[in-house]
């Protein structure tokens, strides 16, 4: 009996969005009288931080600080249509819709500012802190606060915009399967190191080093939270989780978190996340959808590391100690020792 170490690698890609019904999402943006911006959506924040990302996208596009943007979402009386938050589509689809709406609103804003400054709108730019100025002449400026006041009380303009994302629906060819199932693809490569106890079959994941290519890290801290969480979920899927441990038997299914196995904090590996950014041509500021992908490569990387450690292939998930022990026994390994039944 011994603790045996091994490492494994896996590389994956993942599609952004789906293509059933064109995968639409719409957005509306309008300014308040004092130059804050409301973004109306019906997209759902699952805890990943979608509201924050939509605020940053709107702010960047209009040219204001993020805290000038308010997200009103997921009320079907006020928010325009969104297919929903799934298929790694939220940031990409809603982000594109917000950009389109914010561009339209920005154009009206610049037109109002141009009237106030008596210049052409095309000569104006924003400084990102709440002001609009003449390009090359920053002293000729007007605040967005005053611009919004002018729009509402003097010029009779609605600083607002409409945006949407929609792609032509793809119907797979029945014979060849030719189809366009999604848009841009995110990428990952993960190296996992494990230690396997060949007496108990227990796996300790020592390190997980992930490289994720996600188009653009719109908010690096939030990217980190999602990618690290996903990486932990990958460990959990590889080694622990199933609603039916002896599938296809329906016995022994977990009914609560005492029975349904998941790793605790002490079971998680030292986790490294490295991010590359190759902007997607169709992504909001280049962003792709890495929300689902980030939980995938750890599973085969760990499976391959277990083989590297003890020389058995477990080709059925989850890779439980029982499955490892049975495989070791079938392999005739001396070190398998006594096998529990």
């Amino acid at each position: 009996m011994a603790m045996r170490q091994g490492r494994g690698v896996a590389a994956v890609n993942y599609p952004t969005g789906m293509n059933l019904g064109g995968d639409p999402t719409q957005a509306l943006v309008h300014s308040t009288p004092t130059g804050n911006f409301m973004v109306s959506l019906s997209s759902v924040d699952l805890g990943q931080g979608m509201k924050q990302i939509m605020a940053q996208i709107c702010a960047e596009t209009i040219g204001v600080p993020t805290d000038r943007v308010i997200i009103d979402t997921a009320d079907t009386d006020t928010g325009p249509h969104c297919m929903g938050t799934f298929a790694s589509r939220g940031t990409h689809r809603a982000g594109n819709a917000v950009i389109a709406a914010a561009k339209e609103a920005r154009q009206v804003m610049l037109e109002v500012a141009a009237e106030e400054l008596e210049v052409n709108a095309s000569d104006l730019d924003t400084d990102g802190t709440g002001n609009i100025h003449v390009k090359g002449a920053p002293q000729r400026s007007i605040s967005i606060f005053d611009t919004a006041l002018a729009a509402h009380f003097k010029r009779g303009r609605s600083i607002s915009g409409r945006g949407m994302f929609l792609i032509p629906r793809s119907y797979p060819d029945a014979e060849t399967g030719a189809m366009k199932p999604s848009t841009c693809y995110a990428h990952a490569c993960t190296v996992a190191e494990v230690e396997v106890d060949d007496e108990t079959g227990e796996v300790n994941v020592l390190t997980v080093k992930n490289v994720f290519e996600i188009g653009r890290a719109l908010n690096p801290k939030m990217v980190e939270q999602q990618l690290v969480g996903g990486s932990w979920m990958g460990i959990s899927h590889a080694l622990y989780e199933t609603t039916e441990p002896y599938y296809p038997s329906r016995e022994h299914g977990g009914r609560d978190f005492n029975e349904y196995l998941m790793p605790g904090p002490g079971d998680l590996a030292q986790t490294e996340v490295i991010v590359l950014e190759r902007p997607a041509a169709d992504g909001p500021y280049g962003a792709k959808g890495p929300g689902e992908m980030c939980a995938n490569p750890q599973i085969p990387a760990i499976a391959n590391a277990i083989f590297d450690a003890v020389g058995v292939r477990i080709d059925t998930l989850p890779i439980t100690p029982e499955r490892i022990l049975r495989a070791l026994k079938a392999n005739g390994a001396e070190d398998a020792g006594t096998v529990a039944h």
């Binding site: 494994g8 249509h81 990102g128 014979e175 366009k180 693809y185 599938y247 996340v273 041509a281």
Partner: protein, 455 residues
Amino acid sequence: MELRKEYFADERKDDLKEIGQPRLRADALGHVTGTTTFFADRNLPGLLHLKMVRSPHHHARIRSIDLSEAGRHPGVVRILTADDVPHNVYTILTLIQVGPEDETVLATDKVRWKGEAIVAILADSERAAHEAAQKVKVDYEVLPAVLSIDEALAPGAPVVNEYHGQNFYRYDSGECRKVRFGDVEAGFAGADHILEQTYGSGPIEHAPTETTGCIVMPEGSGRFTCYTNTQAMFFTLDNTSIILQMDGAKLHMVGGTVGGGFGGKVDVTVEPIAILGAKLTGRPVSFIYSREEEMQISSPRAAEKLVIKDGVMKDGRIVARYVKAYIDAGAYSRHSPYGAQKSAAHFPGPYTVENVWVDSYCVYTNRTPSSAMRGFGVTIGDFALEVQMDKLARLVGMDPLEFRFVNAYRDGDMKAHRQPTEGAALIECMQEASRAAQWPVAEKYLQMSSARREG
């Protein structure tokens, strides 16, 4: 986390003011101090609690349902049966023309999985609803059940779902979604080695912190406000409108702050029946899954079976890849016909293989319906593909990482589903992994680029 800006630097502008900035999330403080409002944080006067009576059998005919004793239970206000549901047979993807309707909101003559909803108890307290549910008497004729993919596809297997007529989803392409690219037989004929392996997985729970649920308020205007943690507001509204045969203008969904979804909240399972309860009683209704319901009733990730057969050359090039993928949908479609299709499009993974054959099946069994989950149609496929890649590398005596470089897709390569590769970055991810994990590869692989092929 480390951002490696040297990759693709010429394709990116890094001088943006808000994008790329690590701003503090506006909702972070509320989440960590427990002051964020979730759907269940509503204390409505007169609130009724909905509890489902569920099938204890995998497959059974319902001979009769006796509600008399349950109806007399103190606190019970109303019991809903299939007769109360205006459009009881539904499927959620009809909105985008993927049928047929194949699932009952409340069972009529049959149950097809252990846990299927039969009648809904509405009571003044959760306890009363739970106790009354025990008093519903259902007379079953137990039928033979099909619990695995292999059983379901075996000749003479009992039919799980009569609305399909056979134990698989019938696509316009036939019994499976097909991808045909190149000549896979010619590829195998010319290969130095052939490796065929079978992979599998069990169902997996989404395990969100917050279980699936909703609270419905009947408004004086005749409308219904539904506070919900659905992942898809209008998908839920429009399906509810169909099931209840109620003008969508009467429905008002409010949500958007959800304690974890992972794909588990895209089925429309709680809102229609809760709104119906509110309509028929005139009182607010709460229907929130227990943790046990979340784990055993709410749809999990599908169990899958994958057979992968590859032809590979001594130099590491994969010249043919043949995949048969089987997705265990359980008793009803939910999103699984789409999941199996997405799976078909995913093969052969991020590699350029000239000859590819994929058959992807959506299979019906007498099990909890599976549906979307993070990595839908892809996660288990990636497990199988990447373990297979490891085996192939060892078969030809190559380093597993170098083996992947040999086969990695590049911009412009045609994928099996006939879309040109764009924005590829697999090679750069592997180059950086080689560095970060101190996993050495030959210099020629470090010189590769996703943007172009060498030479």
